[in-house]
């Protein structure tokens, strides 16, 4: 295991610590996208780029990644979900420079990212615009409006990744309102799309950082609760906070031992 993979594990532990200390759920969807966010922030983003987290319920992951870069402190994370915090349960509209938009209601991030990309296009500014959505949120009509718009306007700087963990609020995406093949739908809308293993650091870096002209989409196949055996692909970890025993077990599973395969 290289140093970056160890940093990812350390950040996952910090994420769990933050959620445990604040008694907050939404852990499953945070663990499904943390690898992708770590790769994006540490390996891909430049100062000219913009990132929009459309799946705002993964704010914990975003805060933890910013912590891993020293942009948020331990003191900041201690305030997560408490009174007088900057770190609300979903990303706030102001107060943290790195957070572009308050999100949390689904189906807003991609249209916002499209607006930023259009602004860059009109002003002929450098930089790319990255957006991370959940898979369930493609049930929102506004995403399809944005997809039509992005392709039609040829928003070359726009890259959207779908955290396809297959679980949503009250069931699997397939059971609740199946989109069947999201990939085929992107294809049909004229949006180039590739599928990647959403927990493979190298594949994520290649997908996020590809120099291919946008707009383009990446479907990242992920596991909700990735890295913690009792959370893995379990819907209830969309919501539940951990008790102390569960927290201890989760941390133990995420203790990195050099040379070991990732848990």
């Amino acid at each position: 295991m290289d140093a970056f993979e160890q940093l990812i594990l350390k950040t996952k532990r910090r994420l769990l610590q933050m959620h445990f200390e604040s008694g907050v759920g939404h852990i499953g969807g945070n663990l499904s996208c943390l690898d992708a966010l770590m790769v994006l922030y540490h390996r891909v983003l430049t100062p000219a780029d913009v990132f929009v987290l459309s799946k705002g319920h993964s704010a914990g992951s975003l805060y933890s990644v910013l912590w891993s870069q020293g942009r948020l402190s331990d003191d900041d994370l201690k305030q997560f979900h408490r009174d007088q915090t900057r770190l609300s349960g979903h990303p706030p509209p102001s107060g943290i420079r790195e957070i572009t938009f308050a999100t949390g209601s689904l189906g807003h991030g991609l249209p916002l990212a499209a607006g930023v990309a259009l602004g860059k296009q009109l002003k002929q500014e450098a930089g790319r615009v990255f957006c991370l959505t959940s898979d369930g949120e493609w049930q929102e009509g506004s995403n399809w409006e944005a997809l039509i718009f992005a392709v039609h306007r040829r928003l070359e700087s726009l890259v959207v990744m779908v955290d396809a963990n297959g679980l949503q609020g009250f069931g699997t995406t397939r059971e609740v309102a199946s989109l069947h093949s999201l990939k085929e739908k992107f294809d049909a809308f004229g949006m180039p799309v590739e599928e990647v293993d959403g927990h493979d650091v190298g594949a994520l870096e290649r997908a996020w950082g590809s120099g291919a002209r946008g707009p383009r989409a990446i479907i990242a196949r992920t596991e909700k609760g990735r890295g913690v055996s009792f959370m893995r692909n379990k819907m209830e970890w969309h919501y539940l906070p951990m008790n102390e025993a569960q927290y201890r077990q989760a941390i133990a599973e995420l203790e990195a031992v050099p040379g070991d395969p990732a848990p």
């Binding site: 509209p93 102001s94 572009t100 938009f101 308050a102 999100t103 949390g104 209601s105 189906g107 807003h108 249209p111 916002l112 990212a113 499209a114 607006g115 930023v116 990309a117 259009l118 602004g119 860059k120 009109l122 002003k123 500014e125 009509g141 506004s142 409006e145 944005a146 039509i148 718009f149 039609h152 306007r153």
Partner: protein, 300 residues
């Protein structure tokens, strides 16, 4: 007013921060702007939710977007996008709704906007601009180009008779003098009342005002208006908007907080579709009690 709006924007279309979005509306009206703005004129298609979020994204990039549609399509369909993406971030996006009130007449209730500013003013940071006369539009466009907050511009049709002269643009204007009640109007509906009101003898002619920028907040009401309310004792509010969230509610609250409430309040406003029948703007105004006859009745 739509043409006046287009003409005003054409003059500013070369600004580096200018960008105009339309939800596929403006045929036979906005073409001059389309020509003047070039790639900064964007037909966002029939997708108002996306259009408003895109406008928020453009504003985040330092542009000053205008987003245009028929009034109900720009404020009601994308309300969550206005609330979360524009207002929560206090971004300088100007929403433009053509056809406030019953202006789209027999096109039907789906095309009316009789609750637009009440709904929008409940959001953070947003201010509403309701031109009463055609000449207000250019003044408002100039203001909107410089403001740094969310805004909603509610366009209608200029109804002021040419012979009635009104003072230069200001958020509050006294249009007619008299010794009768104090009448406050919002929007173009006031224009059509001015001719007959002007003919009334001074003793019964209402001290007639128009307000064009909302909300009305305590401390922002001009002293001469407060004096008219105090002296006349009877306040009449006329607006093509439902009572809830309307000018009379805002003004009544502000006056009561200031200890300046009138002895008597009359409110002429949109009342919806009581008969279940449809017709012109004139028909709907009549059904709501917004005609000159209704005004004269409460002035008796």
């Amino acid at each position: 007013m739509r043409n006046a709006f287009c003409d005003s924007l054409v003059k500013h279309a070369g600004r580096p921060d200018f960008v105009f979005l339309t939800g596929d509306l403006g045929f036979s009206a906005l073409e001059p702007l389309q020509r003047a703005a070039g790639d900064r004129f964007i037909n966002a298609g029939i997708a108002e939710q996306n259009m408003v979020s895109v406008a928020a994204g453009l504003a985040r990039q330092g542009l000053k977007p205008w987003a245009y549609s028929i009034a109900p399509f720009i404020y009601a369909r994308p309300l969550e996008q206005i609330r979360n993406d524009v207002c929560l971030h206090d971004l300088p996006v100007t929403l433009v709704g053509n056809g406030g009130g019953y202006a789209y007449g027999v096109m039907g209730g789906t095309h009316h906007a009789i609750e637009d500013y009440g709904v929008l003013l409940s959001l953070q940071h947003l201010r509403v601009y309701v031109p009463a006369f055609g000449a207000d539009v250019a003044a408002m466009v100039a203001l909107l180009l410089e403001q740094q907050h969310p805004a909603y511009l509610r366009l209608g049709r200029d109804e002021k008779p040419a012979e009635v002269e009104v003072p230069a643009y200001a958020p509050w204007r006294r249009i007619l003098g008299g010794r009768g009640a104090t009448l406050l109007g919002a929007g173009p509906v006031i224009g059509g009342l001015l001719g007959p009101l002007q003919q009334l003898p001074e003793a019964t002619r209402p001290r007639t005002w128009v307000v064009t920028e909302l909300p009305i907040e305590p401390g922002t009401i001009p002293e001469p208006f407060l004096r008219d309310v105090r002296d006349s004792g009877h306040l009449v509010v006329v607006e093509e908007h439902v009572a809830h969230g309307g000018v009379a509610e805002m003004l009544g609250r502000a006056l009561l907080l200031a200890g300046a409430g009138p002895r008597r309040l009359s409110h002429l406003c949109a009342t919806g579709y009581r008969s279940g029948l449809y017709g012109s703007q004139k028909f709907h105004r009549a059904e709501s009690g917004l005609t000159i006859a209704d005004v004269l009745k409460v002035l008796e």
